[in-house]
Symmetry: C2
Subunit: 246 residues, 2 copies
């Protein structure tokens, strides 16, 4: 049995999310079915993160145990051929130690949220950015974001379905940058609560539009109350960028 | 009657090209139908360039004459609402002089060609880049590209359907740059022959893969013979970037 690390890009649009679901296609299931067709084995693919329906990944990390002897080339090319026409691409495969775990060995996760901030809607990037037509106040957004960085109880920014043991997380980065017509919010932490990035970005958008003062980000955080939340940003602007390992 | 300049972004994927066709949807027709629904007028939208089926635009320029009195806001927002769900976005509208012509007033056109150069196929950018798995020799491509810059007879790089009076064109720029996993070819000229950019990029790909020496770009140009052509790069990697006016 060989443990393989997979690095995977996907367009989350057609999927119910990363995780296998009864009610629709998932990235995990698509990969597991490709492995089954290739090897005859019923293997489980474990991801570093479980992205929601519609959320994309530039480089999700995952692992899977396969008995059949395969080269890196054969596994990567075989998976990329078998997942077609699904928008999933296996960027890299490599063997890892038996105790290496995509989720539990991961010491850092990074997300990108893309906001398109112009009057006209997205054409080329439809489904890849959140379109906000009204001009956003970048400086206020950056000021608001700074209140969330550090170790806090993020109950306000947690979904009712969150399965994390504790609402206390350390947010290492929450950066706001302007890239052409887009505003990019980058979030980095060891781990995140369910919907945390989307709810932080939803509140930052309220700050950017002048519906909230920047300080209301701190007030929302300190309320430790989900009803203090503005709203969740939609999934299609969110990208899982990177899982970091020791 | 007011002459309007439109600046338009579109995903060429679902269209038979810019120009109105009998056998399928076009960007021009989609815009003309939106204008008809908005104004009741049967106006013709004239583009700066007539992109082929599958070719995208970051900012195509066009003009149209409309009798109905409209504000910039009303026209832009109305068109963007009416073209949905087609992947067309009207970025900007403004009034221009009656003699201003999107095609004939244009003094420069710029195209971008995106090659994805990595083993794994595109997932997030599927249909937006040309995927070439084998590593390309960037330096050789840049060397080959330099032979084409300047005033030349581009008969080799012209399609049989080209309607241009003369095969002689002045190519102002043909730059090759590496952007992450992608190679970007930027071409700028006052005007191009039909299929010129795609056939130049097709030949540059042959140079990048080592199937042609860089000097074969010059030999192909000097042959002035379409049978000296390597092949056309596919349309889905090509973007009309900008039309320049005095």
């Amino acid at each position: 049995m060989t443990r393989w690390k997979l690095t995977i890009e996907y367009d989350g649009g057609p999927f119910m999310g990363w995780q296998r679901q009864d009610h629709g296609p998932s990235v995990q299931q698509t990969l597991e079915e490709a492995i089954h067709r290739m090897t005859g084995e019923l293997a489980t693919v474990h991801g570093a993160g479980r992205t929601d329906a519609g959320v994309h990944a530039l480089a999700m990390s995952a692992h899977v145990d396969i008995a059949k002897v395969l080269t890196e080339h054969r596994l990567r090319e075989g998976l990329n051929a078998l997942v077609r026409p699904n928008p999933i691409s296996v960027l890299e495969v490599k063997t890892v130690a038996d105790h290496w775990h995509a989720r539990f060995s991961c010491i850092g996760r990074r997300y990108l949220y893309r906001l398109l901030n112009r009057r006209a809607p997205a054409a080329l990037d439809a489904g890849k950015v959140w379109h906000l037509a009204a001009p956003l106040d970048m400086a206020a957004m950056a000021e608001g974001a700074a209140f969330l960085v550090g170790r806090h109880d993020f109950t306000t920014f947690r979904s009712a379905q969150c399965q994390s043991d504790s609402p206390v997380k350390t947010l290492d980065r929450l950066d706001v940058a302007k890239i052409g017509d887009e505003i990019h919010v980058t979030a980095a932490a060891r781990s995140f609560l369910h919907h945390q990035v989307r709810s932080m970005v939803g509140c930052l958008a309220m700050v950017g539009r002048g519906q909230w003062r920047a300080e209301q980000m701190r007030e929302a955080l300190e309320a430790r109350d989900r009803s203090a939340l503005g709203f969740n940003a939609p999934p299609h602007g969110l990208y899982f960028v990177e899982a970091v390992y020791p």
